[in-house]
Symmetry: C2
Subunit: 548 residues, 2 copies
Amino acid sequence: MKIALGQINPIIGDVAGNKAKILDIYSKGVKEGVDLVILPELSVCGYPPQDLIEKKEFREAVYFASVELAKATNDVGLLFGSITEKMEEVGTGIYNSAVLCYDGKIQFVQNKTLLPNYDVFDEVRYFESAKDVSVYNFKNENLGISICEDIWNDADYWKQRRYEKDPVQTLVEKGATVLINISASPYAFGRREERRKMLSVLTETDKMPLTYVCCTGAQTDLIFDGASMCFDSTGKLCLLGKSYGEDFLIFDTKINYEEVTEVEKSFEEEVLAALIFGLREYAAKTGFKKALVGLSGGIDSAIVTYIAVEALGKENVHVVIMPSQYSSEGSVTDSQKLIDVLGISSSNISVQPVFEKVLEMLNPEFNGLPENVAEENLQSRIRGLYLMALSNKHNYLLCTTGNKSEVAVGYATLYGDMCGALGIIADVYKTEVYRICKYINRNEEIIPNEIIEKAPSAELKPNQKDQDSLPPYKILDRILVMYLEEYKELKEIVVEIKDEKLVNDVLNLVDKNEFKRKQAAPALRVTKKAFGYGRRFPIVQNWQRNRL
Amino acid sequence: MKIALGQINPIIGDVAGNKAKILDIYSKGVKEGVDLVILPELSVCGYPPQDLIEKKEFREAVYFASVELAKATNDVGLLFGSITEKMEEVGTGIYNSAVLCYDGKIQFVQNKTLLPNYDVFDEVRYFESAKDVSVYNFKNENLGISICEDIWNDADYWKQRRYEKDPVQTLVEKGATVLINISASPYAFGRREERRKMLSVLTETDKMPLTYVCCTGAQTDLIFDGASMCFDSTGKLCLLGKSYGEDFLIFDTKINYEEVTEVEKSFEEEVLAALIFGLREYAAKTGFKKALVGLSGGIDSAIVTYIAVEALGKENVHVVIMPSQYSSEGSVTDSQKLIDVLGISSSNISVQPVFEKVLEMLNPEFNGLPENVAEENLQSRIRGLYLMALSNKHNYLLCTTGNKSEVAVGYATLYGDMCGALGIIADVYKTEVYRICKYINRNEEIIPNEIIEKAPSAELKPNQKDQDSLPPYKILDRILVMYLEEYKELKEIVVEIKDEKLVNDVLNLVDKNEFKRKQAAPALRVTKKAFGYGRRFPIVQNWQRNRL
């Protein structure tokens, strides 16, 4: 069987646009003489549509588009992801469906059985689970069709399974001869290799070829890498779709392919590519042409500027240097060096005159109280004020520059450096920012070495260094990874880090700064546990009191 | 059977504190000679604990506290909500449980069957559904124990049921003689009357008394009103717990009670009480003593100031008047009148000198472009800057003053008037703000009539009025209610509102301003569909393009 995979980039809610994309891929498949053209999960409406699904008119528009797609088919099959709805006595009757059409009609619908409802996924909120699973005979093959999560519960692979049912096993038992999975799987570093491994074991065990088609594109914070995969019945990866972009593949189950071995590149290369793609996508889908970055002379704003240039082109990136009395000389000269290397436009606007004016106005209110975080935050907020004014005046997309380590411990000013539409590196730890900068500089010095080598500082008071308030980033990041991603608590972390007070303080900082993260810009997600939608903690809570 | 209901206010994650509260209520019940003391859903850890549940150490602490609670019991029963965990082959093995103890031991556990996973609820994210449901014989009664949602699927009451199973029906069939439901049910106006109605039908149909114990307190944005209810076997409401506060009730299933008829007061009275309670709770649980409000002379900041005074006391509320060149005379004089009536402290800090200084600094960057939203937002952001500086310096809780109509259409400045820790009236439409102000003034003029009667204005450019950019609030709010709460789309709304372009524009504003709401402070929830956690829309989406 010859199957064409349409690795498309749908826009959420743009039913007409997505339909046109699907039709285009179908025509291409027909021209290439394939038997079947397949498209990703929910490709008619984009993934994740979230509460749009609760709108009846939205579901109707999606279903109507599906019927129109069916009408456009000849004898070549077209399989795509859509929403279907049934009148049922109990529940919503709404399904996440794979719709198979040919000869002008919807011929078969397989609903999704396993609905992920963890991390960034909320599918039980919207969908009912499939009542049954069947194979469908088409052109002398028994198609075993499943949707994303359906294939992630293989008893041969997982020690602890999430779900009772195994719909793919059911398809195999019912005589499937070709497995098809249509997916929308957000990227995190390591995920692609996981997909390959699991699907390889599954196809080898079940002795069955598999075509696994994924969508691509970024939807606000979620980056869908694409990287569709085709396996033969020995578990061999035969075809691999492009990462971070649309692709069109044809898989012939009768051909003996060379094995594809490399599915994921180095951490630095992958994450950098993902972030560039994520920003480019956000700008494209929201209509921004130009990006704005506040350049501090530090490594975070430097890498964000580099990413913006890669994403939008150097002519579309503007940076602003905003020195204050506490700024080091390097904050300007190092920034200027980066500006020159990247060839971008820049402004230099001092924070000082406004800072002084604000302090003068607030003087009666500050009652001669000693300087504290109020004055520090003020400088950061004046910078935010400048940046937002430029963004409003010139329609720049303001990039937020905070890294994951800072965001975690709240080492950032709400309404100050936290201003912006999108957190470009808010899911990248500080130590990883360094690694990626070194990767960027692998052939030539792009990010100035001065920026990489200087001690990190917020420069909000005299001679301030990050390490005055925080442990060294190497230690901090290790604690954070254990806490945020490995779900370890105080006692377990202390086994490795030894210093109980230090660990306790870091965990308390993380918990207490939930209120800041609640008001943070969405953060491009590149780890399996990012701040934002997939991590949900109460602002008001006292679990931390149960520690020391 | 004599049952004591402990309507407590747990703090999320404060396992030791909650345990002490439960023990205290138990002692009180024992002293009163009751047979059984019951406490709300998840009372050991507070509700909703969200992703704290994913921490093994947290679950262990909660379970360990449950065992200790059991150890403290004599022959009087103690029933409370907790987390239990089982080693199971499939799934997480984590349950939302009702734990019954006496004679020093956990004697019986009933897990929750129906896990709400809509609006603000995410229980499928954490819990497995109960494998079975049983009655438990205790002191010659068969207790039919259920947890919150378990009782909300009555086939006699609901036309369309959400779930297949009906655990309370099962309990009745298995011979229950007394029904007990332990709950954590967030308030929205109308919800209390709904509870009474549904539970009354259920107890009348099943001819079974019911004790329904709810928690109280606010958890960030969610307000739990309490209002526990006891019904006899004829569907009569016999006892009603206090609203917005802790309570202790004793229900004797053998006594013939007078019927309680009024369960909910007027919209104005209920919502005002809920908001005062919500703010007081947020301050208490986060350790803030004093609140800060930016007073514009408009009705929103006026009502928020009144609420703050009611919540924290007049000595703990400070307001700031921040006039600019566009401020009307009334913005100062009307504010001053309110300050005098409420007897609170205030500051007056002009925005003008800083506004001018910022414009001077930005002049080269603005390139002589015409004034636009950049200058308007600047003024709002300078006010935010002042307020945050005072908050940082004096440890004030900054109250956000935007109403639901504004938040819906994005008529607010991100990092400007949207600054603050908690949206006090962000779930109250503008027309409702007026209604509540009139209620506040029912006996004497507290909110100055000048403030109520003036045309709403942001005062960010000369002679600006809200109605220059927005339809009259009466029409806007009606459109918003239909769109946000009744799930109607363009065509259906136009049937009532007639003006298709107007409706289309409003819906587009709502959708396009999702990016602002993503960075908004949490909003005290008083409707069934509030912005925030319970309403999840993608920022990047083009569904609105499918309209006109």
